[in-house]
């Protein structure tokens, strides 16, 4: 009880001391919280996106076979399917027809995919929610400029659900005949081949056999597709490193400023406390509370703000960076996948260094003669 009283008394004194320098400390908390907010926002966003990619892309094809000509992805002859089908372990092989369509009126790029669902509906398309939003068409017909400059009018048969925008926002589904007519796509050729393989242990063996039998092809395994999103939002690259390096530098400057010295007012305060009978340990305890109050408050504000920003505020601060030059951008809400390990790491990387940085210079000031400290 005595210990608790001592702690609350010191905390009272610390808070009064902080409130005496209200403006300085409040601005410190605002900046500190913003640094934590930025780092945490990036961590929450990338982790949730990676988990969502991992879960949804589990449905992607087991193996995709592309043809490579002069180092570039080329159309693959349908005849290659026979050679692939002969490989033991391959359950089925299907040609995949897909490509990109640039809409000159809106300046947007769409992904056109041939769908078996529309095989019996010539002249019909199903649009992703983002395409419909960009075109401003949810029903009726939409014009597409064909390879020869003429216009092909296709009827909107349906709009894909808004909940799947993360994978389908820019999709245009159409049947094979319309696709070939629109792009003058040569018959007997496909964009790539999709393989179905039951045993995941055979993926690499089958991929090696494909390359051996068809040397101008490049197999892409499902595992590589899944790992793509782990890598593209890796902390060492791209978006993450840009934000993290800025935030970490800001934090280092903040902590460095604290660690390198005390203000004259703070030194005088320590001197007075020592002169009035405070032990060095009490001064250090007060400084510990000072660092802890600032850093824990900033940590809580930053983390809670980041959660609200990413999962309630549609990561509005990141939107301009993510949109880039895209005319069409999906509107999606991320499912919050939180890792306690990440939150704990952010806590130890922000609260502990700052608190230690607050104590160290005070320890130096508290161990010398009070008179000398006050005169300095």
């Amino acid at each position: 009880m005595r210990l608790l009283n001592k702690q609350t008394n010191i905390l009272d004194f610390t808070l009064s001391s902080l409130l005496r320098r209200k403006g300085k400390n409040l601005s410190l908390i605002v900046v500190y919280s913003f640094v934590v907010f930025l780092v945490t926002s990036v961590v929450f966003f990338t982790h949730s996106l990676k988990r969502e990619a991992m879960l949804t892309l589990q449905g992607s094809p087991e193996i995709i076979v592309q043809r490579v000509v002069a180092g570039r992805h080329e159309l693959i002859p349908i005849g290659y399917m026979d050679a692939v089908q002969q490989i033991r372990g391959v359950q089925s092989v299907k040609p995949r027809l897909w490509g990109y369509y640039y809409d000159p009126t809106t300046g947007a790029n769409y992904t056109v995919v041939v769908s078996d669902d529309l095989e019996t509906s010539p002249g019909a398309v199903a649009l992703g929610r983002g395409v419909a939003r960009t075109m401003g068409s949810y029903e009726g017909t939409v014009p597409f400029q064909a390879h020869d400059g003429s216009f092909v009018y296709l009827t909107i048969k349906g709009i894909l659900g808004s909940e799947s925008e993360l994978v389908s926002s820019d999709l245009i589904l159409m049947n094979e005949a319309d696709f070939r007519r629109l792009f003058n796509y040569p018959t007997g050729q496909a964009t790539d081949l999709v393989l179905s393989v039951r045993n995941p242990k055979e993926f690499t063996t089958i991929a090696a056999k494909i390359v051996k039998d068809l040397p101008d092809t490049r197999p892409i395994l499902k595992d590589e597709i899944l790992r793509t999103y782990d890598a593209v939002f890796d902390w060492r690259g791209g978006l993450v490193v840009v934000v993290l390096s800025g935030a970490i530098l800001a934090f280092v400057i903040l902590a460095w400023d604290k660690a390198t010295g005390l203000s004259a007012e703070e030194r005088r305060e320590i001197g007075i406390l020592k002169a009035t009978g405070w032990a060095t340990s009490d001064v250090l305890l007060m400084k510990f509370w000072e660092g802890a109050v600032v850093s824990i408050s900033s940590f809580c504000l930053g983390v809670l703000g980041a959660y609200a920003h990413i999962f309630f505020g549609s990561f509005i601060l990141f939107a301009p960076a993510l949109k880039g030059w895209s005319v069409l951008y999906p509107e999606f809400a991320l499912t919050p996948f939180l890792s306690p390990f990440h939150v704990a790491s952010i806590f130890f990387l922000t609260v502990v260094p700052y608190t230690v940085a607050t104590i160290v210079p005070s320890w130096r000031a508290a161990t010398i003669d009070p008179d000398a400290v006050m005169r300095a």
């Binding site: 994978v167 590589e224 919050p336």
Partner: protein
């Protein structure tokens, strides 16, 4: 009870800790609620043979990074500089990072 600054601060701290705990509870509830949505998205991906998330639509190699090759970022010729902003945000897909892939059974050849 709340006359002292320390008590007010400790109350604020308790509220913050409670909100942090609620954050995990909320995340867990949302994960359960969204499980069906994620399953429908997985079905859509499976049905249409999709391979990538629709995050960036400005360049084809950022729309479908898993389908990209080393030439696509350079678009037309090897010294063409990367100019799409999304290209700087994304890292390199792992299967492009290791050009000479070593896969089981003798491995695949080095691929572009």
């Amino acid at each position: 009870m709340l006359g002292r600054n320390s008590h007010r601060f400790l109350l604020l701290l308790a509220i913050n800790v409670f909100l942090l705990a609620m954050m995990f509870v909320h995340a867990s509830v949302r994960q359960r609620e969204d499980a069906a949505v994620l399953e429908r998205m997985r079905q859509l991906v499976r049905h249409h043979g999709l391979t990538d998330l629709c995050l960036f639509t400005d360049a084809r190699y950022t729309r479908n990074p898993s389908m990209a090759d080393f030439n696509t970022p350079f678009q037309d010729y090897p010294l063409s500089l990367e100019h799409f902003p999304s290209g700087s945000l994304l890292g390199i897909p792992p299967h492009l990072r290791s050009r000479g892939r070593t896969v089981a059974n003798g491995g695949l050849r080095s691929q572009p």
